[in-house]
Symmetry: C2
C-alpha cells in the first residue's frame, strides 16, 4: 500500500453505464470527501461521464448547496448524467486520450474517479495506463456500481442490494395480490440480468415469510421449455396457483435467449415479440394450461426505486466513494474499491482495493452449487449471502407526499 | 340519522374485488371496532368475500393475535381473500340469499360489512334489501375500496391515494433514469384504469419538481393515434427525450380500446398483442421515429405496493371501517361510508353515509374541464385535488430488510 504525498490539484468524478438507486451515494462519497480535503483544489462532476470530459462539460461541485449534495445519498439515477461511450484502446487510437489529457491539463486535474460497471472499470484502467505512459501525474480510482452484481473481486456491488430489496419487496406484495382469489392464477415476474441471475435469485428472500415464488429460473443454467412447463403445471395443479420468477437472460442450451428465440411450432408464436420475456412466457403458459396467466416485467423500476433502497447499500456506496478519494490521496492509482465481507457472527464489511485490469472485462455469476439440482430454485447459501445486504431503510425525505430528490444547480466550468 | 339500540349478535366482514394497499386497513377498522364493542358477540372474516359466507368459511377474528391484526394497517392485498362473484338479483334467483340468511341465522349475524368497489356495493345493497324483505334484523354497511377512484358520492376512495403515490413516485424515479443519457429515449408508462383516468392523471404530480411526464393520455377523452404521434415527435425533437403516461383504457372515438384494437395498416402490426398497451404503443412510436422506445407497464405493482402507501390513505381507510361499525351500531343499514373533504385552508375530511343504491353501478370519471384542451395533460385542478391525499409515509415494520406483513392464524368457525 503506497503512502505518497497527495497531489495538489483538481478532481473529476464521473458516472457511467446504467443508473442505480445508489450511484449518487457513491458520487456523494467522492464529492464530499474531495471537497473537504485541502489538497484537492476543485471538484468537478463530468456531465455524462467520460463524454463530459471529452466535451469539456464539467460541473463545479464547489458551487452546489451542501444540503442538496447530501440529498444525493437518497436520489436515484445518475445526477451528473451517464453515458455508454466505449473508449478506444489507446494503441489503436489515442485521440480520446489526448483530449482527456488536454482537459486534465486545462483544469489541473490530478484525481479521476469513475463510478460504473465492467466497461467503466475498463475505461479507468486505460486512462490510468495512458497517463502513466505520457508521464502526466494523475491518480485514477474506479468505484463499483452495478445492480447486476457481476463485478469480480468485490463481495457485492453497490446498487445490487437496493435493486434486490425492491425486487424482493415487490415479489412479496405481488405474491399477496395474486394469491388472493378463490380462482387460481399463474404469475410470471421478469427481473433484469442478461448473464448473471443475482437479481432474480433475490426473489427467494421472502420465501421464508410465505410470500416467495414457487419457481426461479436463472441464466447461469440452460433453460428447457418442456421442463419449465412441467414445473409450472405441477405447482399449479398442486396448489391452484403458481408464482414464477425469471431472469431476462434465460437461454436455451444453444445459447439463444428465450426472449429472442426464433419461432417454434411448440410455442405457438409466429411473430416477433414486443413485450418482454414475461409476456412471452405468459402466452406460452396460457396456451399450455388454459389458466389465467399474467406476466410482469419489473423493467427500469428495479434499478431506480430509491424510495425502497437499502440503508446498508446507501452506506456502502457512500463509503466506496469516500475510500476511493482517501486511497488516491495516499498515492493509489489504477485500482477499484471493493468490499470484503464477513457473515459469520454478524455481517461486517471492509473496503479494499482491486487491480482494475483484473476487474475489467470479467463477469461474476452465481455459483452453480447455489442453484438447486432441478435448475428451478436457489439454495440457502444465496439467502445467507444476500439477506444482510438489504438491512435498513432509506432516510429519503418527502415533500408533498413525494420523494425529495437532489436538485443540482449545475454550474459549468469555462 | 337513526339512533336505534344496537343489535346483540355477531358481525361478518368481507373483502371483494381487486386488492389495494389499504383494503386491509379498512378491514382492521371494522375488526378492531367490532371486537371492542360489547354488543358484537363475535367477529368473523368471510374467506373470499361473499363466497366464504355461501360456503360457510368464516374465520374467527377474536382468535387472532391483536398485534398481527394491527399489522393489517400496513399489509397489502386482501388478507381475508377476495372474490369476483356476482350475486344474482334476488327477484331472478334467491338461492344465494336463502343461503346467506341460513349462515346469518346459524351464527346469529346481525352486522355485515363489505369492503369493495361498485360491484361489492351492489352486493351489499341486495343483501340489505333481502334481509329487510324477509324480516331478518341485520345491518349492512359498505366500505369503499378501489384504486380506480371511480365510486360516486365519496370525495375519493381508500386505495386510490396509495396507488397514486406509488405511481407518482415511480414516474419520478423513471423520469430521472430515462433522462440520464446523452442519447435520447422515449418512455411510455402504462397505468391501470379502464374507464377512469384518475391513476394515470396522478403521474402529473411530480411535474412541479421537474420529474413529471411530458404527455398524459386518459380514457375520459377519445384517443387519436396521429395526434399522439405528432405530440410525441414534437416533444422528442424539442428536448431529445419524451416521457409519456397512458391509461390502459384509452380508446379510439369508436370506443375500441387502443390495447385491443384490430390490426391496421398504419400501426404496422399484423398480430395479436401479448404485451400490454405500453408495449404496443412503444412498437408504434419506435416504427414512426426510429428512436429508442421503452414501454413500462406498472401492472399489479401499483395496486399492492404497500411499502409506498400514503399515511393519509391508511388512516382514512381505517376510519371508513371504523365508521361503518359505529354507524351500524346506531341503527344505520343499506349505506356506504364515504368521505367529504375540504381543501381550502388545509385538507380536512369528514365521514358520511351514502345510499348504497345511489353508489352501486355508477362510475365517477375525471371532470373533462380537468383535462387540457389538447387532450394530452391535466390541469392544476387535479393537482390540487390529489396532492393532499398522498401526504405521509406508511409506518410499516421491517424484518430481515423486508416488509413485515400480517400473518393471520385463520381459525375457522364450525
Amino acid at each position: 500500500m503506497p503512502t505518497k504525498k497527495p497531489l495538489i490539484g483538481a478532481a473529476i468524478v464521473g458516472q457511467s453505464g446504467g443508473p442505480s438507486s445508489v450511484i449518487n451515494a457513491s458520487a456523494y462519497g467522492v464529492i464530499k470527501t474531495a471537497l473537504e480535503d485541502e489538497n484537492i483544489t476543485k471538484v468537478y462532476g463530468a456531465e455524462h461521464g467520460i463524454v463530459g470530459v471529452l466535451e469539456d462539460r464539467l460541473m463545479i461541485m464547489d458551487e452546489e448547496d451542501p444540503a442538496e449534495l447530501e440529498r444525493l445519498l437518497y436520489t436515484p439515477s445518475s445526477a451528473l448524467g451517464s453515458c455508454r461511450y466505449k473508449i478506444a484502446d489507446p494503441s489503436d487510437n489515442d485521440k480520446d486520450y489526448k483530449r482527456i489529457l488536454e482537459i486534465f491539463e486545462k483544469y489541473n486535474v490530478r484525481y479521476f474517479f469513475y463510478i460504473g460497471g465492467n466497461d467503466s472499470m475498463d475505461t479507468c484502467a486505460k486512462i490510468s495506463r495512458y497517463m502513466a505512459k505520457v508521464g502526466y501525474e494523475c491518480r485514477v480510482i474506479g468505484v463499483p456500481k452495478t445492480i447486476d452484481n457481476d463485478l469480480i473481486g468485490t463481495d457485492h456491488c453497490p446498487g445490487f442490494a437496493s435493486a434486490a430489496k425492491y425486487i424482493a419487496t415487490s415479489v412479496m406484495e405481488v405474491a399477496r395480490d395474486c394469491r388472493v382469489y378463490n380462482k387460481g392464477m399463474i404469475t410470471i415476474i421478469e427481473c433484469m440480468g442478461r448473464h448473471a441471475g443475482w437479481l432474480t435469485a433475490a426473489t427467494v428472500l421472502p420465501a421464508a415469510k410465505g410470500d416467495g415464488p414457487d419457481l426461479i429460473y436463472l441464466p447461469e443454467v440452460d433453460f428447457d421449455m418442456a421442463d419449465f412447463l412441467d414445473d409450472v403445471i405441477r405447482v399449479y395443479e398442486g396448489q391452484g396457483q403458481c408464482l414464477v420468477a425469471v431472469s431476462e437472460g434465460i437461454h436455451y442450451s444453444d445459447g439463444a435467449f428465450v426472449s429472442e428465440a426464433k419461432t417454434s411450432s411448440t410455442d405457438g408464436f409466429g411473430h416477433a415479440q414486443l413485450g418482454g420475456l414475461a409476456h412471452r412466457l405468459a402466452g406460452i403458459v396460457s396456451a399450455a394450461t388454459g389458466a389465467k396467466v399474467r406476466g410482469i416485467e419489473l423493467s427500469l423500476l428495479q434499478r431506480c426505486a430509491a424510495h425502497c433502497a437499502s440503508a446498508t447499500d446507501i452506506e456502502e456506496a457512500f463509503q466506496c466513494g469516500k475510500v476511493a478519494v482517501e486511497s488516491a490521496l495516499r498515492g493509489e492509482t489504477g485500482k477499484m474499491v471493493g468490499m470484503v465481507c464477513k457473515r459469520d457472527g454478524g455481517y461486517s464489511v471492509s473496503y479494499e482495493l482491486f487491480d482494475l485490469r483484473r476487474v475489467a472485462n470479467a463477469e461474476k455469476k452465481i455459483p452453480l452449487e447455489w442453484i438447486t439440482s432441478d435448475n428451478a430454485y436457489v439454495t440457502d447459501a444465496f439467502i445467507d449471502y444476500c439477506t444482510p445486504l438489504l438491512e435498513g431503510q432509506t432516510a429519503l425525505g418527502y415533500e408533498d407526499g413525494l420523494p425529495r430528490f437532489a436538485r443540482l444547480k449545475k454550474v459549468f466550468a469555462k
